[in-house]
Amino acid sequence: MAYNRRILEGRPGDSVLRWWREVYKWARSLPVVLGPNMRATFGPLGMKVRVASGRPVRISWRAGLSGREITLSAGYVENQIPSIAVEGGDFVRLDARTADGEEAANGRPKLSLADAEPGADNRSAVVVSVQLNEDGTFPDGEQLEEDPGLFTVEHRSDFSAVDRRGAAEQGRPFHVLAILYWRDNEPVRIGQVAMHDYILLESESETASGETVKRYFFSAA
């Protein structure tokens, strides 16, 4: 018989099966209880626990992918919150309000990827896009209340530097908020690009041969 069962000491010839079972029982009796700000993930090699030791960080434009829908937390470009076109042709702002400031019936809008396709390298983008006024200024609150489609969050398959420039030349520059990765024509992951509350849109003119061209730059405020 064992000298000491608590520390599993024994003599030559003792059966250890019962002890193995006790170890098994002991291991099962110690549940891993995750406290606040702890998260467990399971991989082929076992469990990893992550502890959030810092203060929670609120990220604007935080994008989440669920099937073929995307959710986004709110953020500002030139102090305005963009909208998403929802079913029925209505627009709902990212802060779950309609253009006139009323609470939206279905809460936060979701960006549908029902008809979306990947672009080059099996990537595509979630962008915020604005239709500028003819003089290149950003639409004000009144204009957006009248036509929320001027300032929207959209999905784009083409978002290279050339595409960005082409859109800006049409008076509708866009800024990438998140990047979608596709496999077998299905979106599988989303990567966050923009994270700041406030984004500014600045422009610069360059002239040559009598032609003036405006360049637009989005940047974190």
């Binding site: 024994g10 059966s15 250890v16 291991a27 469990m47 041969s209 061209v213």
Partner: protein, 340 residues
């Protein structure tokens, strides 16, 4: 008293039972406990490192949600058999030779082998006290001491130790590699014509994908030109890449590690990143409206030597020739990064 696993060899416990137990414990007990800044959030450019026991080397990773102008950032070249499956799938490289080199995207989360590291403090050697790389305060407080100083006398060469010899048991070694972001961009090409004219045209970058280099050499930012001659020299030598020091991986040894040791699994990694957000990048010229800039100088090319024209150009700049100064500023191509 010696204890042995007594009757296991004689069938006291079935292999199935043993495996079930090991699997259970392995799966349900935490393997690692790590700290995050905040739940579910990591900054772009965040650096992590791990020791790979199978290859006996340190490896590092940059947080995947990190972009420059919405483009994927290329990691340093890695062997096909070391890159993530995502990379193989994207490149269709499954059938390539194992030793072939490919460049994964940072977003594919490759574990990049850490190249040879530089020594900082304790067992580094500096030719003068000022040439030594400063030791970050954090590591100085943990036992990293000043580098040895090489004293060169008239007929002698000696080493002045940075720390007191009595503290050797407490001293720790420090190693570092810098992570550099490289962004190719167009360059301004200066050409001196046979008629004495200097022409500037823009040469586009070949592959403009941003890429990382990881180097043991200490990063030195490009210094601003202090004269027209330096500016021209810089334009001529411009390699068309904007560089930014985005982070450093430090490895700290246990106390008392003998000098000149190579980092192993007993060392402690510290990732430091200097950028916190994804970046955008552009140049100061709109290529769609840029036209070649030409400056005519009253200095015909003599015998095919361009230097005479350049010298005349510099003279004009020094004499505050408005045309020459305007030419210089319009001929300059600069790139810039900003936070998005």
């Amino acid at each position: 008293m010696t204890l042995r696993p007594f009757r296991i060899m004689r069938g006291g416990i079935s292999l199935k039972d043993a495996r079930a137990l090991v699997k259970f414990i392995r799966y349900w007990r935490p393997l690692t406990v790590e700290s995050d800044d905040a739940l579910g959030f990591r900054h772009p450019w965040q650096i992590s490192a791990r020791w790979d026991p199978s290859q006996e080397r340190w490896e590092m990773q940059i947080f995947r949600d990190t972009y420059v102008a919405n483009r994927e950032i290329l990691a340093p070249s890695m062997r096909v058999d070391e890159v993530p499956e995502e990379t193989l799938r994207r490149l269709g490289a499954e059938k390539q030779e194992r030793s072939d080199l490919v460049r994964p995207w940072i977003s594919e989360e490759p574990w990049i082998p850490v190249p040879e590291m530089r020594r900082v403090g304790t067992d580094a050697v500096a030719t003068t006290a000022t040439s030594a790389e400063p030791i970050p305060e954090y590591f100085a407080e943990r036992g990293v001491v000043s580098a040895d100083e090489l004293v060169i006398g008239v007929q002698s060469l000696s080493v002045r130790s940075g720390g007191s010899p009595g503290d050797r048991e407490k001293q720790r070694l420090l190693r570092a590699v810098d992570v550099i972001l490289n962004q190719p961009r167009p360059t301004a090409g200066l050409q001196v014509g046979s008629d004495g004219r200097i022409t500037v045209d823009i040469r586009p970058a070949g592959d403009s994908s941003p890429f990382l280099t990881i180097t043991g050499a200490r990063f030195e930012p490009k210094s601003e030109a202090s004269s027209a001659a330096e500016e021209i020299a810089g334009a001529v030598a411009d390699d068309g890449i904007d560089r930014r020091h985005v982070g450093t991986l430090w490895l700290l040894s246990p106390p008392g590690t003998s000098r000149d040791s190579e980092p192993d699994e007993t060392w402690q990694p510290f990732g430091q990143h200097f950028e916190f957000w994804s970046l955008d990048h552009d140049i100061n010229r709109d290529l769609n409206v840029f036209e070649p800039v030409v400056l005519e100088l009253a200095a015909p090319l003599a015998g095919g030597v361009a230097q005479g024209v350049i010298d005349t150009f510099l003279d004009n700049i020094e004499q505050e020739d408005a045309a020459a100064s305007a030419f210089l500023s319009s001929a300059k191509v600069d790139g810039g990064f900003w936070t998005v």
